[in-house]
Symmetry: C2
């Protein structure tokens, strides 16, 4: 998956400026891209050159002008064919903390417990932040479209978009929950280990 594909997907059905795209990328914790200017604006220029997006400059008084990008028909079909061909990509598992733990175990086992406690605290803090952000976004969306035409579809079932939105948040939540439980369990083991070591 390239950043261009993601941008096409984000643009589907809702034209946006580069600034908006950038914000989306910065705010979502699971994106592959940090969402810095250089990435986003260059990708948009390139998509424009390839004719997959169209750019309309909107001048506003008392506010900077915006370049609003939207999908062209070519962009729509590029998106569709990417989606049809795309295989699901596996998550990237990058956990520097595991390296830190391994090094600490070899060189200074006394640091294990404080390291684990700090890690646990930080993961829990991140978890809380993710939950708060979700609540904030939910409130925002409820304000934007009420009564919500999207929450229930015509047949009375949940819409696909709502389901996937909830699924994404659920995924992140489970990730932090698993990490928290793991850290707790390792901390307990380490406490009983070093405790026993001192007793005997």
């Amino acid at each position: 998956m390239q950043i261009e594909d993601a941008i096409l997907g984000l643009l589907k059905g809702r034209p946006m400026s580069g600034y908006d795209l950038k914000k989306l990328m910065v705010d979502s914790p699971y994106m592959l891209w940090s969402g810095n200017n250089n990435q986003v604006y260059r990708a948009l220029l390139q998509l424009d050159e390839r004719g997959l997006v169209a750019c309309e400059t909107v001048h506003r008084e008392g506010a900077p002008s915006r370049k609003v990008y939207s999908l062209t028909p070519a962009g729509e079909s590029a998106l569709a064919s990417w989606l049809a061909a795309a295989l699901p990509e596996l998550p990237e598992l990058r956990k520097p903390f595991l390296v830190q733990l391994a090094v600490a175990a070899r060189t200074d086992p006394d640091r294990l417990e404080p390291l684990l406690r700090q890690y646990l605290a930080e993961v829990e803090a991140q978890h809380r932040m993710a939950r708060e952000q979700r609540r904030r976004l939910d409130r925002l969306e409820d304000r934007d479209r009420r009564p919500d035409p999207d929450r229930l579809n015509e047949s009375g079932g949940l819409s696909a978009r709502r389901l996937v939105e909830a699924a994404i948040y659920d995924n992140i939540d489970r990730f932090y929950a698993a990490e928290t439980e793991w850290a707790r369990s390792v901390l307990e083991q380490e406490r009983s280990r070093s405790g026993k070591g001192r007793e005997t």
Copy 2:
């Protein structure tokens, strides 16, 4: 955390060649670095220039020569001070699949179910591979040091290294387990959603 820190940690107590370090990095799924030649060999040269590692070339007959690197006293103290100062680093959460799901929900909801099924299958396959690799490594280590002087320390408790080693595998295992459960639950929800949609 830089690759240099990780190399110092890996070298602690067991001198190795660049090739060995590279293999370790390639094999461990949670490292931040892919472990390609360019990274490892350049980092070793740089550590050598800074005087943190020493290099001894070992010539062997009927096999290529190896450059075995080990920590110098300066390297030992650099490692210790890094470890003392280091704050635990949070895992990176990069899940392109969540983007794919979101795009699919907006453009082609019928693709959700097959995407989810493929993803589930791939995650389960990765999970099995990780478990197998763990079993393989365990067998290797049991062969190398038997009776194991490291599994139990002098006071009869588990050593810190053993504990952390098990903890690392446990972390990876929990990660895949959480991802599997999540995928299963979303797949079920999507099935009942699209099923209901067709019934009514």
